[in-house]
Symmetry: C2
Subunit: 440 residues, 2 copies
């Protein structure tokens, strides 16, 4: 814990060092002392042990071990356990004018690993989530092309397919905190972030079908929702790794994720990943539509707006502990765990501070580390039971280091509600509760 | 297509060669000619183009572009689009005595990429799927250990966590076809296969907490369901990569997948991945419980049973086309796509034959290729409109080559219903329909 990552370059590998220094066996003894109970002491409280095993009949056999459970005909499509009913997306009424132009935040504090299950993927709409009939839906490609084309969904599915795991993040994630507001819970500070395996077609294949004229430099993408969400995308990105997607985590897109067709623009702000995609138009300049002028621009300190901040820069957040997941066992050993991601490529390293930024240790990264995808990081920690401050700091493969809030405000002022990716701080109280605070 | 993989060694890399030889642009021109319609000809039929865009008012604007869609308060936990209601798990009544001791098959023909969404993960129970209350559930570790221990679910979650993507396959997958039965559809020939990101604790950590006595060679794992599913596992595997899991694809295990705790024994037959795990006992020999003697042994030609066939050997199946997904556009270009997996490690190569096994081409593998996880393979193909036979053949990193049905029957007879991993054949009819056949 004495290792100070600040004195190192941004891309030196530290994970193996940290792993060697962590005495795993000692950590485990500590956890067992706090957690697992010796059988002799706890046997009277054992409800579920060894039913039907004559050597050790427990006093209480739970009902679920004595009667048949649900049959397979009950669940053609499954749902979470009834004991998980609090693990849901949540909205914040005061954030939006109507529930159709609103945000549903993913419960990051209750999620594990890296994949976001489809039922909990965050959602952000401007006119509600329509139920589009895939047989009636069409995608038109026109503008500066040799051959304007109209595709059915079945047409699109005939093209060579590809699957990629990518994060999706609304650029307003955390944006309420530019000026110092304190959201309560990681679901609301960072829950406009999700990570799925997307399957579809490389957009370049579809655009090449239409034949791109040499003067085409921008792509207009338009949704079929009532808001007709419309954004301009540079042709280089459209032809690079942008995907025309029809499936997420193995199954068809959910309605709220753009069923039956959407764009996935890897690493770029969520808003350009147009859902219910119905139109692609090629042109020689951006269109300056409503959602890329009055919104989704960054208002700077001098009153000018920075337009087209497409890339989501490296960011990270600790999800355990967090306000929803306090330190419930008193002083002792815990695993700190969280998520890191970068719109520019792979996460190279994540440093964690357990003393408000004075000292940093390098966390272990869960493999595989994928480009423009969420990476899970983990670090063992012994809490001494006193107040302290937890922080995480992501570094990506380009050498970019997640900034402090002071660094970010110095560069961009406090007027924006977008692209706030500064180091996040959780305060641990002596009771083990976790508060959202800002540390300068 | 003239490349004959049979003349090569089993582990030579062929993917790059095949990729170079495939003329992607020519493929795409073919697809567009069949698929995308020119705008001029089809404009009258465009329901969804350019609403609110004065330059190109279409004749019909669909209702979903004119009225607000679903609000975020409607969907705390999402569900598939109503247009996807046929994409569900399905059971086969004649296969099982009661719906609580049954199989619900995953709809592989409708799935994309590699991840199985939790709602569609195959399920196989022997006493139904219980709704276990996690606060009352306990896991006991006893037998040949230094310190018998009882854990709550919260205790288990305090240990260092890990996430891994692994397939899970019932060893009876395809087993009805040992003797020549023909299931109708890939959902029933191979649908006892799924692939998730599992999160939990390395089992070795928990067992080391209890302290393994030197004479302990086997582990008994027992479920809390009414069937008290019980299996014996060698200690080497338990201490290697076996996981004690509480989450799948980011969220808590589903009830039908063992909520709140299960084993994941990577690459081993599904039945040993004990769900609703309540007991781990260490011993010096296997227990020979009901589910590893009367069932889950392989009855050989000479009447003896092969016991403890744990590993799921390399296997593969083409999921597009398949009986549920025929060639719907007549002669022309299609993408052949499917799944390959091996319980011994990574898939090294998948060969595809479009002429019943005479010639083989190497398919493209979707990255990342992960150990003991499903790998998606893809190959472009031009169908000439005539009857033919499609096959896929997986090779894993150990050099193992998926066998023909004749090779498998020669080695193991036809009495078993388990571990049938032979090359699967789809017959394409001149109408583009797809039948399940067996080719010797």
């Amino acid at each position: 814990m004495s290792e100070d990552a600040k004195t190192r370059g941004p891309v030196e590998p530290m994970a193996r060092d940290a792993e060697r220094k962590f005495d795993r066996r000692r950590f485990l003894r500590g956890a067992a002392a706090a957690g697992g109970a010796a059988v002799g002491a706890a046997a009277g409280a054992l409800p579920a042990v060894a039913a039907g095993n004559p050597e050790n009949q427990p006093p209480n056999i739970p009902e679920w071990s004595k009667s048949l459970g649900a049959s397979v005909v009950d669940r053609p499509y499954g749902a979470p356990s009834p004991f998980e009913k609090e693990v849901v997306r949540r909205s914040v009424p005061w954030l939006t004018a109507t529930p159709e132009s609103a945000i549903n935040f993913a419960p990051l504090g209750e999620l594990h690993g890296t994949i976001t299950p489809n039922g909990l993927h965050f959602e952000r709409h401007h006119g509600g989530a329509p139920d589009v009939d895939p047989t009636d839906h069409r995608l038109i490609v026109h503008g500066l092309v040799e051959r304007p084309l109209v595709f059915t969904v079945a047409d699109i599915k005939r093209f060579p397919s590809v699957s990629r795991i990518h994060f999706l993040e609304c650029p307003a994630n955390g944006g309420m905190e530019w000026k110092g507001a304190q959201m309560v819970g990681v679901q609301f500070t960072h829950g406009m972030l999700s990570n799925c395996e997307w399957t579809g077609v490389r957009l370049s294949i579809v655009l090449n079908e239409a034949g791109i004229k040499p003067e085409a430099k921008w792509l207009l993408a338009e949704g079929a929702d009532a808001a007709a969400m419309t954004r301009s995308i540079p042709i280089e990105k459209a032809m690079d790794d942008t995907l025309l997607v029809y499936a997420m985590n193995g199954e068809a897109l959910r309605a709220e994720q753009g069923y039956p067709l959407r764009l996935i623009v890897p690493g770029w702000e969520g808003n350009v990943n147009i859902k219910w995609l119905r139109r692609l138009k090629l042109g020689d300049q951006p269109w300056h539509h409503r959602e890329e002028t009055s919104k989704y621009t960054d208002l700077m300190a001098d009153g000018r707006a920075r337009q087209f901040t497409f890339v989501m820069e490296a960011n990270s957040v600790i999800t355990a502990p967090c306000p929803e997941k306090p330190l419930a066992f008193g002083a002792g050993r815990y695993e700190i765990s969280g998520l890191a991601w970068s719109g520019r490529g792979k996460i190279k390293r994540v440093d964690v501070s357990t003393d408000g930024g004075n000292n940093w240790r390098t966390a272990e990264l869960q493999s595989p580390v994928l480009s423009k995808a969420v990476t899970r990081f983990r670090l063992p920690w012994r809490w001494d039971g006193k107040q302290t401050f937890l922080q995480s700091r992501a570094l990506d493969e380009t050498g970019y280091v997640q900034p402090t809030i002071d660094q970010l405000r110095a560069a961009r002022g406090v007027n924006s509600v977008y692209h706030k990716n500064s180091i996040h701080t959780w305060r641990i109280t002596p009771k083990g509760e976790v508060d959202n605070v800002q540390v300068s």
